[in-house]
């Protein structure tokens, strides 16, 4: 398969997953605040700062808005076209990638990306404000529908595997960031307000983390009603069966990479396979004590870095074959999540506008 086609499949999938995760973060934050304003001060900007921290582009946000509020953060993460990670930008980029390989994907896949794109063009901030639940539900469902359509209309060969790699790398990265930020936030609050760290706010917050991964029900089946941070972290990081845990996502990405290259547990063919295999093996033999010993924040940060490296190696192995200068500064900037060239190079649309005979 052409490297460019593989790369566009990869980024189409990755941006779609990113949009879904952003919708999840926002949805849960709204829910959380509805609960929390009963027991603490309303419009606590901390909860909105957290969302900006998850996407790690605080600086860009501060250049555009003067305060952290429901309105400004929603605008930034849903509508702002200057934010390359906003839902509207991600779906635009997913569509752009899909459009450039329209002859390679199924027409049903194209219709689904295109429908969501057009749906978003007609959504107003007022609509999201009045009914955030419906809006985020729509985004999540659209993403699930896209995955279902892909699974059922697109051959499960190399191209499909690139879609899987992208989806699961993005997802594991997002979960790691979410946990990291929430933990950080709770910790700093615990220091300033020691009386509530064991209180109901803490539990509600951790439930929110689970909810944003659609993990609350699955978690309860395993740990009954013992909602304590220890179990939650174990579930979200190490569980091997829940599709929104880090371990599951890493395994799924690894399977897809190995299918492409023919690698196996005992023999790797390229660095992408080697690095993902290493992460997977370590997760398999990690216990919570190991994570605490290293420090949760350090552990997660290290994991994120290593996932970025996997992405880079996928790029070098499959997409950048003999391509000298594919990374440029503006593209790197567009992807603070990964630091890897993403989407399509932004070069000269003008030249493509040749006169037609």
């Amino acid at each position: 398969m052409l490297s460019r086609v593989a790369e566009s499949l990869f980024w189409m999938s990755r941006y779609f997953e990113r949009a879904e995760n952003t919708a999840r973060f926002l949805d849960v934050n709204f829910n959380l605040l509805l609960d929390l304003n009963k027991i603490t001060h309303i419009e606590n900007p901390n909860y909105w700062v957290a969302l900006i921290l998850v996407t790690s582009d605080r600086e860009r946000f501060n250049n555009l808005y003067s305060e952290y509020s429901a309105q400004s953060v929603t605008d930034y993460l849903v509508f702002n076209k200057n934010n390359p990670n906003s839902i509207i930008s991600c779906i635009g980029l997913a569509r752009e990638n899909a459009r450039s390989i329209i002859e390679s994907i199924s027409s049903e896949m194209w219709e689904q990306v295109n429908n969501l794109y057009h749906y978003l063009q007609n959504i107003t901030p007022q609509f999201v404000h009045n009914d955030p639940y419906s809006f985020y539900k729509e985004i999540k469902n659209a993403s699930h529908l896209f995955q279902g359509i892909t699974d059922n209309t697109f051959s499960h060969n190399e191209g499909w595997d690139f879609i899987q790699i992208a989806k699961y790398l993005e997802r594991s990265d997002n979960i790691a960031r979410l946990i990291d930020v929430k933990y950080h936030m709770l910790l700093s609050e615990a220091q300033s307000q020691p009386e509530i760290v064991e209180g109901s706010e803490d539990i509600i917050q951790w439930m929110a983390v689970l909810k944003s991964c659609s993990a609350l029900e699955a978690f309860r089946k395993v740990y009954l009603s013992k909602i304590d941070p220890d179990n939650i972290l174990r579930f979200l990081i190490l569980d091997r069966t829940f599709p929104r845990s880090i371990n599951f996502s890493v395994c799924a990405a690894e399977d897809a990479l190995w299918r492409i290259s023919g690698s196996s547990r005992h023999r790797y063919v390229n660095n992408a396979d080697r690095l993902i295999g290493k992460i997977e093996a370590e997760l398999s033999y990690t216990a919570m004590e190991d994570i605490y010993a290293k420090g949760l924040h350090t552990y997660l940060e290290d994991l994120e870095q290593r996932l970025v490296k996997v992405g880079e190696q996928v790029h070098l192995t499959y997409f950048a074959y003999h391509t000298p200068d594919i990374e440029s500064s503006d593209i790197a900037e567009a992807l603070p999540f990964t630091g890897v060239a993403g989407g399509r190079a932004n070069w000269s649309q003008a030249q493509q506008h040749q006169q037609q005979q």
Binding site: M1, R4, H353
Partner: protein, 482 residues
């Protein structure tokens, strides 16, 4: 006669009407069509319009209009009334095009080899050697089978008497063939009964014929030729067509960055490494093909491609440098070219053309700007044009300045009253819209023309410009055996 046609006004004193003869009687090859439309109510027509619209929307048949924000995608306007061309008329067009394309190819071969036609003073050498599309670097380079113009799309119009005339040859990268194919699909869905009443020659084999032509010009006979389509990218207005043709032929659609040249051989970059390419159906202009040879700022091309081509390791369709023959100045010499190489009289005539580079013609052009159509020699797609009768005095004056400053770059033609064809405006009323015809000619080991082509129609009332970039639409074109 159909209720729709009862109120239709043909205006035979000014235009050739495709359907209604000057005596007011419909031409016989349209009888069945008129009869069928006579059975339709306005609601029937609307229902069929809906079928067609859904078909086009689902297929994503859109084009991009430049100059609008983010290049807005639009559905290509389509008219429900098909154009019917009787077999005997088609035979003339077909023969005329084979003759014309064969002669132009010989001309290109000559220009890039011994330049006999210049030495014999049939064409002033400065017109060729000074043309911006003449590529002197390719003098002495012979493409496989000696063929330069593998895919052409000549624009044919009809004058007031109904004679078919060639307006332009389009020898570089003619577009629109995907619309021809899709229009036919749409018509089959919307009018199955009417379809059944005519013996319409099929055109569905075009992608296979195109692939066969491209395979025939492969420089390498040892293996199955690897053919790819090269597109400028998704922002090009004809991107849909590039992707459509690649899909129909079952070959890879590539952009410049998908290709790499190594040791004068061209390869695609794939997830499994490099794969050798033999033939490139390129929809990228010469100037952007190779930044090492042509425009150094080109991001669309492939560094080293021209050398690989010159070494004969890859074939480009069309060849580099064909633009020299579809320059509108050289166009005026095509009848002489046919006579010179084939010793025959042209079967299809040209539109009369005045050359601004010729002093007596220049005087005539400047004196008659208000009634002539002035065209820049190297533009296409309806850009760089002055339509005298529709222009303002200021536009005429600014064109006059440009012509005097650079006479080699301008030609003028009389305002031809393109033939008219009844077309639906709003699905309730028929109006005579101007049309032309673009058949697609393939040239491999033989010359192949699928019967028909794209009939473009100026859907703006009274407009003469049929280009899609200027608001034109299209119709299905039926070549029928009586």
């Amino acid at each position: 006669m159909s209720r729709f046609f009862e109120r239709y006004e043909a205006d035979p004193s000014h235009f050739f009407d495709e359907v209604i003869a000057p005596d007011g009687i419909p031409r016989s090859h349209y009888d069945k069509l008129l009869h069928r439309f006579g059975q339709f109510s306005i609601d029937d027509v609307k229902a069929r319009r809906e079928v067609v619209n859904i078909f086009f929307r689902n297929q994503g048949i859109t084009f991009t209009v430049y100059g609008e924000e983010e290049g807005v995608e639009r559905i290509f306007p389509f008219d429900l009334i098909p154009r019917v061309v009787p077999a005997h008329e088609w035979q003339t067009i077909e023969k005329g095009l084979v003759q014309r394309i064969t002669a132009i190819n010989e001309f290109l071969y000559d220009i890039y080899h011994t330049q006999k036609i210049l030495k014999d003073k049939i064409i002033p050498p400065e017109l060729i050697l000074g043309s911006q599309h003449f590529r002197r670097e390719f003098v002495g380079v012979t493409p496989p089978l000696g063929i330069y113009i593998h895919v052409t799309g000549s624009d044919i119009i009809r004058d007031k008497e109904g004679n078919y005339l060639v307006l332009e040859d389009n020898l570089r990268t003619p577009s629109g063939v995907s619309y021809m194919l899709q229009n036919r699909q749409a018509m089959k869905r919307a009018f199955p009964v009417l379809f059944d009443k005519y013996k319409i020659r099929p055109i569905e084999n075009y992608p296979q014929e195109l692939l066969r032509t491209l395979q025939e010009i492969s420089p390498n006979s040892r293996r199955e030729p690897n053919v790819v389509v090269l597109t400028p990218g998704i922002y090009n207005s004809a991107y849909f067509e590039h992707s459509f043709l690649a899909r129909q032929m079952g070959v890879e659609l590539t952009e410049g960055k998908d290709l790499v040249v190594n040791d004068n051989k061209v390869y695609t970059r794939t997830t499994r490494g490099l794969e050798r390419v033999d033939v490139i159906y390129r929809r990228v202009d010469d100037a952007f093909l190779d930044p090492l040879v042509f425009r150094p700022d080109s991001k669309l091309g492939v560094a080293g491609l021209v050398n690989a081509y010159r070494k004969g390791n890859v074939t480009l369709a069309n060849a580099i440098g064909t633009g020299v023959a579809d320059d509108k100045v050289i166009y005026s010499f095509v009848p002489a070219i046919i006579k010179y190489y084939l010793g025959e009289d042209p079967i299809l005539q040209n539109v009369p053309t005045w050359l601004a580079s010729n002093p007596s013609d220049l005087k005539y052009i400047l004196e008659n700007l208000g009634s002539l159509v002035v065209k820049a020699a190297n533009e296409s797609g309806g850009y760089g044009m002055l339509i005298g009768p529709e222009s303002t005095i200021e536009q005429q004056e600014s064109f006059a300045e440009m012509i005097v400053a650079n006479p080699r770059n301008y030609i003028a033609q009389p305002t031809i009253s393109l033939s008219r064809h009844p077309s639906f405006y709003n699905d309730t009323e028929l109006y005579g819209c101007h049309i032309d015809l673009r058949p697609y000619v393939l040239y491999g080991k033989t010359v192949t023309i699928v019967p028909g082509g794209l009939t473009r129609v100026a859907l703006k009332r009274g407009s003469l410009v049929v280009n899609s970039s200027q608001g034109g639409g299209s119709k299905d074109t039926w070549v029928v055996d009586e």
